[in-house]
Symmetry: C2
């Protein structure tokens, strides 16, 4: 594999990555002249031969890859179980690759897949990812990819998600009903579509009750536990602190609980907490945690089933297969 990517072609031709991608796939959306220019440049830069070679090596490894930010999150470990339940039946190996929320790492992993190591890819993207050219390159090389949970909105393929906007709304609505006057939403990344959808849902719940919303309601957390701890400690020490918190990912919950413990803030008396979480220990936390519980196993299983359809049926249209599987609110003591 040389270093020519779809981005190189787009830059040289001064057209968008999407145009190059569609031209190489011979899409009817692109004019014949543009297709010719793209093909010519691809040939000049030695890009096309890789494309042709790729079709020869497809479906040979009997292996699919799962690309994830981390496994120390019960959503992901359950989703893996769902994926493996399907792969097992199909006689496929499952390889798990961790990006640790690092964009460069994700890019590198996907590039490696172009060498034919795997037949297909299931992915939940990093919080850092904003440029998706490496995903398009993989698709062009003939390796199908299906997203679950954390999707890249602009990539044309199947995306298995849950009702994130609605759940953000439900979380906000519950805290308002329970008397919270100042609710904060803990975001994990402003470039992650699921995080934004949840935040927007929460803001809509406020707006529907004629409560003024502000970007300050959204607290940006990082992939760095000790940063999050001191950041949240500062915010919760303030006299005008929030009295309700929506944690957009599971791991922020432990941090919030520990900060509250240190500051002697009683949950739910002083502050109410709801988290997007699949923690099995939610009922035995002190106090037990109200959760938006995602259909993690099912999302993994559905994503894998759709990927196998693409591997088994030539010409299968992945982009028509997106699906939204709803989450469930489980009320416990932390929002009482």
């Amino acid at each position: 594999m040389n270093n020519i990517t779809i981005k190189t072609l787009a830059e040289r031709l001064q057209v968008s990555v999407a145009t190059v991608s569609k031209a190489l796939k011979d899409s009817h959306e692109i004019g014949e002249l543009t297709k010719q220019r793209v093909r010519q440049m691809a040939e000049e830069l030695n890009y096309v031969p890789n494309l042709y070679a790729s079709s020869l090596r497809r479906r040979k490894s009997k292996t699919i890859a799962v690309v994830l930010p981390e496994v120390a999150d019960s959503y992901f470990s359950l989703a893996i179980n769902g994926i493996e339940s399907i792969a097992q039946k199909k006689g496929y190996h499952v390889l798990i690759y961790l990006t640790h929320e690092n964009y460069r790492k994700q890019e590198e992993i996907l590039k490696d897949f172009q060498s034919g190591r795997v037949d297909g890819v299931l992915m939940s993207t990093t919080t850092e990812t904003t440029d998706h050219c490496h995903v398009v390159d993989l698709q062009i090389s003939g390796v199908p990819i299906v997203f679950f949970d954390r999707v890249c909105e602009d990539i044309e393929t199947a995306k298995i998600t849950t009702n994130d906007f609605e759940c953000g709304y439900i979380a906000g609505e519950l805290l308002l009903k329970q008397g919270c006057k100042k609710i904060a939403f803990l975001s994990i990344s402003s470039s992650l579509s699921i995080s934004n959808k949840r935040a927007n849902g929460f803001h809509k719940a406020l707006a529907d009750k004629n409560i003024k919303t502000s970007p300050k309601d959204i607290i940006d957390c990082k992939n760095d536990e000790s940063f999050n701890y001191s950041h949240l400690k500062k915010i919760l020490s303030h006299k005008n602190r929030p009295d309700g918190i929506i944690a957009s990912v599971e791991k922020l919950t432990t941090t919030v609980y520990l900060v509250c413990k240190e500051l002697n803030l009683r949950i739910p008396g002083d502050i109410k907490i709801i988290s997007f979480s699949n923690l099995v220990s939610a009922p035995i936390l002190n106090p037990s945690l109200t959760t938006i519980t995602q259909p993690a196993f099912e999302m993994g299983a559905v994503a894998a089933s759709i990927l196998f359809k693409a591997l088994e049926k030539p010409g299968f249209q992945l982009k028509k297969e997106s699906m939204v599987i709803p989450s469930v609110l489980v009320e416990r003591d932390s929002t009482k």
Copy 2:
């Protein structure tokens, strides 16, 4: 790869697997006549050519594999982070394979590695594994393997463990000091050496206080949550129930807490609990959980470092590199 394994050779020759393994490695422990017989049979059955081929393909994939029972356990997710911290520096990919405690699956995965997919393997074995021929086959094929945490005692290679016996002792001693009269040890597998070492340490703590020990102190749990729940519920409903519990793995803790909740048993008033666990949520459980905390990240990092030594230095003696890294007792409310 044909289906001839080291076990086939051993059976045909009516010698042990260890003998075949050593003979093929030209060990000084084996007589010249036996070596000749083994080599001859290996050649007849077309086993040796694979061995020769294997040396050609070693260290080509720039990939190591981590073979684990599951990722829904914070020990394993931390150990993976430790492994990746080293692999990253070395410029290697890390592939994670899950066995879900299934012996056949582990065997299948290791067989697949003989095709040269990975340069080296880090493994924590399944609870089911008692026959280790597939591990020897992998070694013979030229792929180095290092164990961490759950080791196969009879395989000659580096094993990175923690002080399991001592920690079982410490756990037993603490519960006795806190007044427990009837302590139960929850085992996850009687074929797993770490589980047995922990149980033996616990029994030694009882014996040192002249308390009679019995196999009945050890409660066999399974890789099946609902079985464990009803099994423990039955035991804890009995009027002669335990007043102290040592959970040998993290996931049993949640089950014990939930059973106690259902039966209205107060922790630590009615029953005290200590768990081998790396749960970040241990301090925020109700009540906070006393743990034996393993050096998970460090164990993963050390195991990976040793594997890389074997990949970088021809003739490196893995079996001389075993290491024991001690765990730490963290007392919290569940044993007060």
